[in-house]
């Protein structure tokens, strides 16, 4: 256990993260839609990767750990794909209206 990992330079990574944060705050200010998407999501992905690789030490793990991570992300994708249409695309305020407006509750009973 004692043969220590080669340490990444945590401070350097942290500074990179800060720079990216600044970029992702600045990007949307230009108000170009495509650029906003790239800065918001693109940078988020890069940042997540940096954190996972360095702070979570995935950089030094065996391939199988990456494989497991990828599988989990796939599962998350599958789950999201199945659930999103129900949870996000219902005109869901119907329910709340229902509570406020007693008549439709009665009608359903």
């Amino acid at each position: 256990m004692s043969e220590a990992y080669a340490h990444p330079n945590y401070v350097k990574i942290w500074i990179w993260l800060l720079v990216l944060l600044a970029l992702s705050v600045a990007g949307p200010m230009l108000e170009i839609p495509t650029l906003t998407i790239i800065t918001a999501f693109g940078i988020a992905i890069v940042k997540a990767f940096l954190v996972a690789a360095n702070f979570m030490h995935l950089k030094f793990e065996k391939k199988i750990i990456w494989f497991l991570l990828l599988m989990s992300i796939c599962m998350l994708g599958v789950f999201f794909f199945g659930v999103a249409p129900d949870i996000m695309m219902t005109e869901g305020d119907q329910w709340i209206d229902c509570i406020a407006d007693k008549s439709c509750v009665e009608q359903r009973l």
Partner: protein, 571 residues
């Protein structure tokens, strides 16, 4: 014990293990065989409770409103509690502990040829957490308001609001018990996978592993990959119940459908989690008793991979009419129909294994064959249900109920009896009585069909599940339908009575049965090369494996079996 570490690699001598006190041998064991027995016995006791519940509510359905002998009056709330906990117990406290944790623990180290699980103390901890979860569940029957009555699927808002379910603490303890149980099986699962991947006897390649072990490992991998969302869901449900959040409550902006997704994302893989161990056990039994090589070992294995993968993308077939997006329903119809292909292929492989074999109808073989027959009915009716148009009519009817009992009963009960009758000689060093075994078999299998076949017709007649007294529904209160209900209930009572034969056979054989030889069935796998019962540490000398697990009736050999650890003849 300083050589203990090297002993693992060279020879696991039984002598290296000193005699343990009663406390450490039976109450706090680290020996996988004793832990397995703990799981199996706990599971069997829970099966008795689950069976008792079924008896009580079936009596209410057949003779509504009358006093049930040995139980009392079944009121509506109590009916809900009985059905809910019957389902919960049979799936989570019988199928999982007996087949996966129990037999998994027993056979994995023996079949892959090592002295114990790689993490014996973790193994013990996993049983202890399981025991705690069992106690919490039993406690929940006795709190104010009684046990939880919101069905084993626990759909909110019914399950999350005490005013609806009328079981304030019963519901919360139920969630807690289930969550604890999952923690226990996660720990157990880690152990199973690590042991199988790392501790196999020298010479045992991946493709030499017996199917029973493969399938248990696949099952726990499926379990580990699917249980996360449900544990998250359980925490959210618990918070909805106890601290007033509203993850699943429309009144607070939550979404009850989200729970259904979280539940079934776990729930459907879960049915394959319990299915796979039984399929594996059956594969091993039919090869032994038809003296033939398993037809298409790799095919069987790959179909299991395919089933496992697909099982993650079919969950919404339980929600076709729950208000999900209809476009999604189409996707899930396709995946549901797809999943029957690998399963059917596997069944054909099993049948092809039997073809031309010299079949010996011993009790374990009868159980294995009846599994295939009964499970086919269950699987085929699943395809009907998977067509969303048909499911509009079938959903939540007795057709669904009959479908899943034709899958779960073979898996849990038939699978359990198959495994027990097959490995009993190894576990207790004595043979079970074959005649009593056959009486018990027919006394279980015939009534089983009498209970559940009629329920398909009740479902087609429009009988909805979860109704405690059909007299309140004129369409369903006709005498013909009532007669079918009475027939099913009487069959259930007959079946329960025949279990006494098993209990008698089990305990008498355990102490008085004929002494079992090491390899009573002339089987190939490694567990049969140990003494019956195997000592602490299992093997005198660590076996070396020379071939696959299914070399039966090999041409040119005198004996019709060829144990995995028998060195090839010099030539």
């Amino acid at each position: 014990m300083s050589q203990a570490a090297t002993a693992v690699q060279t020879d696991t001598n039984a002598e290296h293990h000193e005699e343990l006190s009663f406390l450490y041998k039976y109450i706090l064991p680290t020996d996988h065989k004793i832990i397995a027995m703990q799981y199996i016995f706990t599971g069997m006791i829970m099966a008795v409770i689950g069976g008792y519940f079924a008896y009580a509510f079936r009596m209410q359905l057949a003779f509504p409103g009358e006093l049930v002998p040995l139980y009392g009056l079944v009121g509506p709330g109590e009916y809900n509690m009985l059905v809910t906990n019957h389902g919960t117990i049979m799936i989570f406290w019988v199928a999982m502990p007996v087949l996966i944790a129990g037999f998994g623990n027993y056979i994995i180290p023996l079949m892959i040829g090592c002295d114990d699980m790689v993490f014996p103390r973790l193994n013990r901890l996993s049983y202890q957490i399981f025991l705690a979860s069992t106690l919490v569940l039993i406690l929940s029957f006795f709190v104010k308001g009684g046990g939880f009555g919101g069905a084993w699927t626990a759909y909110p808002p019914l399950s999350s609001v005490a005013e609806y379910s009328l079981t304030d603490w019963g519901a919360s303890l139920w969630v807690l018990a289930v969550a604890l149980e999952f923690v226990s099986f996660l720990l157990g699962g880690i152990n199973f996978v690590t042991t199988t991947m790392n501790a196999r006897a020298p010479g045992m390649k991946m493709m030499d592993i017996p199917i029973a072990v493969w399938f248990i490992v696949l099952a726990v991998i499926l379990f580990m990959a699917s249980v996360g969302p449900l544990i998250a869901g359980a925490v959210m449900l618990f918070m909805d119940q106890r601290i007033g959040t509203s993850f699943f409550l429309p009144s607070g902006g939550g979404d009850p459908l989200l729970w259904q997704h979280l539940f079934w994302f776990f729930g459907h893989p879960e049915v394959y989690v319990v299915l796979l161990p039984t399929l594996g056990i059956v594969a091993d039994i039919i090869t032994v008793f038809s003296r033939k090589k398993l037809f298409g070992y790799k095919t069987v294995l790959y179909t299991a991979f395919a089933t496992g993968g697909l099982s993650f993308v079919v969950w919404a077939h339980h929600q076709f009419i729950a208000g999900i997006d209809p476009r999604m329903a189409n996707v899930f119809v396709v995946t549901t129909v797809l999943i029957s292909i690998p399963l059917a292929e596997m069944m054909f492989s099993y049948i092809a294994t039997l073809y031309g074999g010299s079949i010996e109808l011993k009790t374990p073989m009868l159980w294995a064959l009846s599994f295939i027959a009964a499970f086919l009915i269950g699987g085929v009716t699943g395809i009907y249900l998977g067509a969303s148009a048909l499911d509009v009519y079938f959903h939540d009817s007795y057709f669904v109920l009959a479908h899943f009992h034709y899958t779960f009963f073979p898996i849990t009960i038939i699978g359990m009896f198959a495994a027990i009758t097959f490995w009993f000689p190894k576990m207790f060093g004595r043979m079970m009585n074959d005649t009593l075994g056959k009486i018990h078999f027919w006394g279980t299998f015939i009534p089983f069909n009498c209970i559940f076949l009629p329920l398909f017709f009740l479902g087609l007649a429009g009988q909805h599940r979860r109704i405690y007294n059909y007299n309140h529904f004129p369409d369903l209160a006709t005498q013909e339908l009532q007669n079918i209900r009475i027939f099913a209930t009487v069959s259930l009572i007959v079946m329960l009575c025949f279990q006494l034969v098993f209990i008698y056979n089990f305990f008498v054989s355990m102490f008085k049965g004929k002494k079992a030889p090491d390899n009573p069935w002339n089987a190939n796998t490694l567990e049969w090369s140990t003494p019956s019962p195997p000592p602490h540490g299992n093997f005198k000398t660590l076996p070396t494996v020379y071939r696959g697990a299914y070399e039966y009736s090999v041409p040119g050999r005198e004996m019709d079996y060829w144990p995995q650890n028998e060195p090839p003849e010099e030539s």
